[in-house]
Symmetry: C2
């Protein structure tokens, strides 16, 4: 097929927007795969692509929701199996679908609108938003119905967390004079979306060597610089646990962010999709820390991360607290975001129902409970173990340091030594060619001037890490000393 | 929960953007439902919300893809049932999952990346894009591998068709001086997205009384008017079959659009999501009519419409032909759209796999074939019958006329008579309050000045139409003559 000879002027923001997580390095990896070379996709937090098994409970329920006629059929099979040992043998090890799962699927399907084949309301199925509200109340200790209780009408179900970020940034940004504060390094969803919306990215710099800690002084400094440049800061993005750094914020830092935002009349955008990936540390949500302070807060969660790892289902939610009003109108951000969500009709229904399952785990004592807990704990333990294996490897790499404790699904080691004239992009490309390991170079996350890093998702199976790590160490020590 | 006292300046384009399909009338309907009143949601093409059953084949396969462990189990059940009549009785009427379906699910799952829990490549799973290319080649009679053969690398899998429209419009529009031609009336996805992207909507007017026909003269007129206003037209949107009109374009009109676009150096955006909803008429795709002419074409298809009706799965695709180059660069639109798609990571995987099933129906002679054909034909026949019932009703309504033949899922009758000082919004609101029928008024689609219409999706079950139609006729004749 031909390319047209037509040359058409296009939106410069789209042209210049960058998204390194799926940029030149992963594109090169795809080429290598086509040539038959094995690659290890650590450029992205995509656990099931690296062999992580899904939680059985989720999939059993979703499978029934896709084909509701199966519910009665499975009940028949269960009756037969309980009566007939031959049937049990024939049906095999896969065993039966528990009564709890069958009842749950039936209950979901009897709820208004719960049909994977139908559009839902623009903000998502009501009963799912209600379940999300209950989850937040329970997580954060809010009294249901009390003044801090989560409100299903201020929850939006979204295709992953990215969609929510797009809505709020598109609404806030009126032009290049509007700035959004982002931590450096940051997840490039934010830089790309700010750029696509014609806004200005305002960087703030957590301190690497103290474990990516920051305080109000660092935020004020960044705000002052922006003001001097004539930029009006509209919001601050915080990613907790951090991506790419894995840093986990303590209560004091979160409080400082909220007070900073309140004092300066800006919105807090809290990306909390890694809230389950804390490996023993405490996760404090922005909603909990916010309490009754009158600061607008938008927070995200997703089915893609945690121990769920259901990236392909593209489920997520966004919660608004203290939504502001659009200047010159009496319209709340909630109502405007509802309209934005309407244009895309609704997020995918299977993803919405996966959000329901994420926030409604099987209760203690129910049939699926024991396996669910076992799978959950095993996944989280294995993630932590794999991070530790990689960290041990870094110690054998010349001038590599990895600061802070383990969080999220990533390590972000600093490359203290590189051959003259090369940068971390060159390093990651060479690493890919040499070992198949696909990572993202630090510049893709907007690292601090003069530093070099890479981000690696600690997701490959242990045996794969054991196999590739020595090759990486060897590559590294040769490359940086060549 | 409180609303913040903060007032924040927001993006005016988002503030002013309108989306009537989910605007004030459906919002009022939702309120009525909460009060316990029955409403009939004909404001949107959402067949399964009105009782249309899904195609069994699709759901059987998707159900297995959600829970792959079931495949071996179902084979065990099939063996048991074939040997043991008691087992057959116990498992019940729902019967067995055919070997064809089990083999297909197994084949899909053995394909690289086909895992509903994992992100795919940004443009979607390769094997699905390949299947879409085969579908286009077969539909349009292109020689696979020949010069017109569809190219999987120029196909993007998207969350419904809306996402593709957003990407191309966002890329094309550089500011208010850029115009996009849209038919009036039009589907408000286009007006809303053009507005969100800060572009200018340039209307062209198919002729209602001849069945919404248009010709090159009408297009040139619209282009000339835009030029006089200083607008650079970048693209023309064509919806075929039409939404909201149902109009089906003939080959001559399509050829004229393509020549018009070619002569003026603009992109054709062809929304073909209703290509199966032609009720005996011939559907000619823009790709087929394009042939080897060097005109950039972007076309959309979706799993939400046709006889599939799988709206909730949010699956769709976009095909590019003759992608232009971005001025001042050597970047093809294909590569820039790939980057845009990357920022949202990928469309949902179940939707992608539903696209695969849409373009890969069970072949003649396979076990699911007979039922598939029966379900497909019954759905399309019933849609046509229901449109006819409504058209018959219009004849009993004072001064209502509905032009053109039946296409898509909508009728767009003209209200020739309304009480002084009222408009079609007032009419649709009153119709909702009186009968529960939820429609969208013509102004929501940008109808021609001085005319009044409504759009109704002809989706409710026949018994429901039989029940509500007399009440609508009575309401109508009283309302317009009050």
């Amino acid at each position: 097929m031909s390319v047209s000879e037509l040359k058409i002027p296009v939106n410069q923001n789209i042209l210049e927007m960058e998204y390194a997580v799926r940029g030149p390095i992963p594109i090169r990896a795809a080429e290598l795969r086509k040539q038959g070379k094995q690659t290890i996709p650590c450029n992205i937090g995509n656990p099931q692509a690296l062999g992580q098994d899904p939680i059985a409970f989720y999939r059993q329920v979703l499978s029934l929701l896709e084909d509701p006629s199966r519910i009665e059929r499975e009940r028949g099979i269960n009756r037969l199996m309980s009566q007939d040992p031959e049937a049990q043998a024939a049906i095999g090890e896969a065993g039966s679908i528990s009564g709890y799962v069958l009842d749950l699927a039936e209950k979901i399907l009897s709820t208004h609108g719960a049909n994977v084949g139908a559009y839902s309301e623009s903000n998502g199925l009501f009963f799912v938003r209600e379940a999300v509200a209950n989850f937040i109340n329970e997580r954060d200790g809010f009294d249901p119905g009390g003044p801090l209780s989560a409100d299903p009408e201020r929850i939006f179900l979204t295709d992953g967390a990215s969609e929510g970020a797009r809505h709020i940034l598109q609404l806030l940004i009126t032009g290049p004079g509007d700035g959004i504060m982002v931590p450096i390094p940051q997840y490039p969803l934010y830089s790309a979306t700010i750029r696509a919306c014609d806004g200005t990215q305002v960087n703030y710099y957590p301190d690497e060597e103290t474990g990516w800690v920051f305080d109000r002084g660092i935020l004020e400094e960044s705000l002052e610089t922006a003001k001097k440049d004539g930029i009006t800061v509209k919001a601050i993005v915080v990613i907790n646990p951090g991506n790419p750094t894995g840093a986990i914020l303590d209560r004091k830092t979160i409080d400082e962010v909220i007070d900073f935002a309140g004092d300066n009349g800006i919105v807090v955008i809290a990306d909390e999709v890694y809230q389950e990936n804390v490996y023993g540390a405490e996760f404090v949500s922005f909603a909990k820390a916010l309490g009754d302070r009158d600061v607008p807060l938008v927070s995200f969660h997703s089915v893609s991360k945690g121990f769920y790892g259901e990236c392909g289902h593209r489920g997520g939610y966004m919660e608004l607290r203290n939504p502001p009003t659009a200047a010159g109108t009496d319209l709340s951000f909630r109502d405007i975001i509802f309209k934005q969500a309407s244009v895309a009709l609704c997020s995918n229904l299977v993803g919405q129902l996966m959000v329901y399952l994420m926030v409604s785990p099987p209760p203690e004592g129910s049939e699926p409970y024991a396996l669910y807990v076992q799978e959950r704990d095993a996944i989280l333990q294995e993630l932590e173990d794999k991070a530790t294996m990689l960290r041990e490897g870094f110690k054998q790499m010349d001038s590599v340091e990895c600061f802070g404790r383990t969080g999220a699904m990533y390590l972000f080691p600093r490359l203290g030594k590189l051959p003259e004239g090369t940068n971390d992009f060159d390093y990651c490309m060479a690493l890919l060619e040499e070992t198949g390991l696909t990572t993202v170079n630090g510049a893709g996350f907007g690292q601090k001037e003069g530093t070099h890093h890479l981000r690696i998702a600690f997701l490959p199976p242990k045996e794969m890490i054991e196999e590739v790590l020595p090759r990486w160490i060897q590559f590294h020590n040769e490359y940086v000393n060549r």
